[in-house]
């Protein structure tokens, strides 16, 4: 991979992140209310003008917006992601705690999605038009269609009331503290997210498989006398993998910030919840820095996917 290409990618990535940072900053300021009204609610009306003024300076919202942005950005560049004023905790340490939870959950969900989705997609594609294909397609639609809060809440209620089993109630345990409890806690949310993912992956696999199957090299391979199974899983699947990889990369990026609902149901202290709480409380620094981290990871995953393209398909070259 030529250096020039890497350099260009890096520059565009930085510009992307800068754009994200600016947009998040603006959108947050456009939302009604600030940290004072979100703290005090209607009690804000009881505060004297002088009290409000002093609270504004306490929460750091008394400066003009451009100055707030630049001072936040300046801090971020030097590695200081800001402060959650209310709790006196640094945003850096909040993200440090939340990030591993989210990444672990996302990886496990993707894994489950791939393990279920790819074989089903191949099976479905190989039997296109049959009853088996239709059954698998229905499963895929269910996975896509049933909201994860339904699956999640159902799982919690079912296992808690029937089997008295709800590991997430014991408070989140990191894998390095209690690996066995951690696995149990990750299991349900990962399955909940993985099921939905498997629907998407199955459908992508199926259509990529069908498209690839119609190419001449497949007929050649079969004509050479290779077994149908070998052609299916080695030749076709390998050539159909680019779209599957693309969708997986995108879904992974989505999972970094989009697992909020599942994190709520299963009490997982991940990034999504950090951002959601931050928005609810109008803790600007928390939201801005967390989203910047999510966006940074998203960009990195995308770069990784591009690298993998070239590994999977030697015809792809980057100049």
């Amino acid at each position: 991979m030529p250096w020039r290409y890497v350099l260009v990618r890096l520059i565009t990535s930085v510009l992307t992140l800068l754009g994200v940072a600016l947009m998040v900053f603006v959108v947050l300021r456009l939302l009604p209310g600030d940290e004072i009204t979100s703290t005090f609610g209607t009690e804000t009306g009881i505060l004297t003008d002088k009290q409000i003024e002093s609270l504004r300076s306490y929460y750091g919202v008394d400066q003009p917006a451009p100055q707030q942005f630049l001072s936040w950005l300046g801090n971020v560049v030097t590695g200081n992601l800001g402060l959650s004023v209310r709790s006196g905790t640094s945003v850096g340490s909040l993200i440090r705690d939340a990030l591993p939870v989210t990444v672990e959950l996302a990886l496990l969900s993707i894994l489950i999605g791939l393990v279920i989705g790819v074989p089903l997609g191949v099976l479905s594609g190989a039997r296109a038009g049959t009853r088996g294909d239709a059954t698998i397609q229905v499963f895929g639609l269910l996975g896509l269609g049933i909201p994860n809060f339904v699956i999640g809440t159902f799982a919690v209620t079912l296992f808690a009331s029937w089997f008295h089993y709800f590991p997430n109630a014991r408070g989140y345990a990191a894998p390095w503290e209690d690996p066995w409890l951690n696995v149990q806690q990750m299991m349900f949310p990962a399955i909940t997210l993985g099921l939905a993912l498997s629907g998407t992956i199955m459908r992508t696999t199926r259509s990529a498989f069908l498209e690839t199957s119609s190419q001449p090299f497949v007929r050649t391979a079969l004509g050479k006398g290779l077994s149908a199974r070998r052609v299916r899983y080695v030749h076709i699947l390998r050539n159909a993998f680019i779209p599957i990889l693309t969708i997986t990369g995108i879904q992974f990026g989505y999972l970094l910030g989009g697992t909020v609902i599942v994190e709520q149901i299963f009490a997982m202290p991940g990034l999504g919840r950090l951002v959601l709480d931050g928005i609810g409380k109008r803790e600007y620094a928390v939201v801005q820095s967390s989203i910047l981290v999510i966006a940074g990871l998203f960009v990195m995953v995308n770069m990784l996917v591009d690298v993998l393209y070239a590994r999977l398909d030697p015809r792809i070259r980057y100049q």
């Binding site: 703290t39 005090f40 709480d277 928005i279």
Partner: protein, 559 residues
């Protein structure tokens, strides 16, 4: 490049959607129509009707762990032989958000901080004011001086001795506008604080103020150490004199407090209390059911009614009330007959039944047990009477009906249901409601600006009727612009209640106040719901009319 551009668009769209979504459903409780501690609430008298959860379901369960097991993560406690052990686990949907007790207004913050801090006075289970860090107190005959005698030998967790210097510094900190303390308004009659000796503080008042005693028992009037105030560590290192010592806080996950075995009331019965956050109330209930949580705090009646199994449900009337606020500065609501017509057209019981599964009881303005409003003064005796409503509308020249813009919040589960029931009921007499369902911060903004014809609201109650309504129903109250109604009668009654110290006489004053308010009908008080405490494996816990968890200091684990 087009692929890159598409990806960029995707990222941008994802983030925008995320923010909008989060803003739309972000109700962390901080925005309640009163972030006031006094709102969440239960009434001791009603403890008796806390049912033991429903039918025992056949538990298929294998290894259901029992609560308080502690999972070997018990906090290091005093190694004395008689030191209490075991960790009591409290579960709730939101974490505390502010560590400074003078700034904390959200229930979840106050509930945690008041375990760590004490106040000069305290509240009993029936909301009667009793001794706290002040052992005794007396007003001067003219009511302008309040002398408080402090308990001696009380230590802060950090080791300092509590004395009059700390008390004065704490009160002055609240009074200082720089602090931004909401409770300042409640003790603003303090003109100065004297310290004749280390165990006495004298509050010089600018006017007689009977309800200041209740205000000094409010957790927001916490006693801090003068050194911590000077050092500026209040917001980051909680150090109080309370029954529990601030321990380990994993923001958004859990807070562990350890027993203060030297507390002046005596040691707590458990070694530690862990307050755990499970954001989804259905999951919270499941966690209580499996015994991982000993005390779950539930606010949504839709979830609470599903409690069963081993859970004991404490269901107690809240001080917070549901109301339809009207803006009497706007036509045609400026006409008292029109407001009374609306009051007559509404069937309060139907709103409770259809809007909130019957989980609540009809109430007037005052929900405090000792002062609870009767239906005196209510138009149509509080019954639905469409004919009378129509007659009143005709009388006001509004017989053909009119349209009202109603703002509806999203921070409590039943708001939209209630609004729709009211919409249907008023539709019967030709009053058309245009419902505007708003995200919390938008609602608060509109509400503070009195930018509505009417508002569906859940307002917090307070421990004293004066505190509860002086802001709304006196012509110079901070929120009188929002309440949009005042009268000489209400002003006089409020002023009388402030200086009256005899409980029976005060009760009469507030009964008159309540009747006058209901007759004028600037708002329509509908009902107060319940606060739910789901218990499993815990005993001797007394819920408070304020929603307070202070009796965790007496609670013990079962078995």
């Amino acid at each position: 490049m087009s692929e890159k551009a598409r990806r960029l668009t995707r990222i941008v769209a994802l983030i925008a959607a995320l923010i909008l979504l989060a803003a739309a459903c972000g109700d962390d409780g901080g925005g309640e129509t009163s972030g006031d501690p006094g709102a969440g609430t239960e009434q001791p008298g009603d403890l008796s009707d806390g049912e033991t959860g429903g039918d025992g379901d056949g538990e298929t369960g294998g290894d259901g762990e029992t609560g308080g097991e502690g999972d070997g993560e018990d906090v290091a406690i005093d190694d004395r032989a008689d030191a209490p052990t075991g960790t009591l686990v409290v579960g709730r949907a939101a974490d505390l958000d502010v560590l400074d007790p003078h700034l904390a207004t959200a229930f979840q913050s106050v509930q945690a901080l008041e375990l760590v801090y004490d106040t000069l006075l305290s509240l009993g289970p029936d909301l009667a004011v009793g001794a706290g860090l002040a052992e005794s107190w007396e007003f001067s005959p003219d009511g302008l001086t309040l002398t408080m005698h402090l308990r001696e030998g009380v230590l802060f967790h950090g080791g300092d001795t509590f004395d009059s210097e700390d008390a004065a510094a704490s009160l002055n900190r609240i009074l200082d506008e720089e602090t931004g303390a909401v409770t300042r308004a409640n003790i603003a009659s303090i003109a100065s604080v004297d310290m004749p000796d280390a165990s006495t503080v004298v509050l010089n008042l600018s006017q007689a103020d009977a309800p200041i005693l209740a205000s000094l028992a409010d957790p927001n009037a916490a006693m801090l150490s003068a050194d911590a105030i000077a050092a500026g560590t209040v917001a980051s290192e909680p150090d109080g004199t309370g029954p529990f010592v601030w321990g380990n806080w994993q923001q958004g996950e859990s807070l562990t407090l350890t027993a203060n075995v030297d507390h002046w009331r005596g040691s707590p019965q458990v070694g530690a209390v862990e307050i755990r956050v499970l954001p989804d109330e259905a999951s919270l209930l499941a966690a209580a059911d499996v015994g991982e949580i000993n005390l779950a705090i539930i606010t949504d009646p839709l979830v609470a009614v599903q409690a069963g199994g081993d859970i004991e449900v404490l269901r107690t009337p809240a001080l917070a009330y549901h109301a339809l606020m009207m803006n009497s500065n706007r036509e045609p609501l400026a006409d008292q007959s029109v407001r009374q017509a609306i009051s007559c057209a509404i069937d309060r019981q139907e709103i409770v039944d259809s809007g909130a599964l019957g989980e609540g009881s009809i109430t007037g303005p005052i929900t405090i047990p000792a002062y609870r409003s009767s239906s005196d003064g209510l138009p149509c005796g509080g019954q639905q009477d469409a004919a009378e409503a129509q007659r009143l509308l005709d009388e006001a020249g509004q017989g053909d009906g009119f349209e009202l813009n109603v703002i509806v919040p999203t921070f409590f589960a039943s708001a939209v249901n209630e609004a729709q029931v009211i919409q249907a009921q008023l539709g019967e007499v030709g009053i058309m409601l245009d419902l505007e369902v708003l995200e919390t911060d938008v609602y608060v903004e509109r509400w503070l600006a009195a930018d509505f014809d009417a508002a569906v609201a859940l307002n917090s109650g307070k421990i004293d009727p004066h505190q509860m309504y002086v802001r709304y129903w006196t012509s110079d109250g901070n929120l009188n612009d929002v309440a949009a109604y005042s009268s000489d009668t209400l002003d006089e009654l409020m002023a009388a209640g402030r200086v009256e110290t005899d409980p029976a006489a005060r009760a009469r004053i507030y009964a008159d106040f309540s009747a006058a308010l209901q007759e004028a009908s600037p708002w329509i008080w509908i009902y107060n719901g319940y606060e739910y405490r789901m218990l499993n494996g815990i005993e001797n816990f007394t819920p408070m009319p304020t929603g307070s968890l202070q009796y965790l200091r007496e609670a013990a684990l079962v078995g």
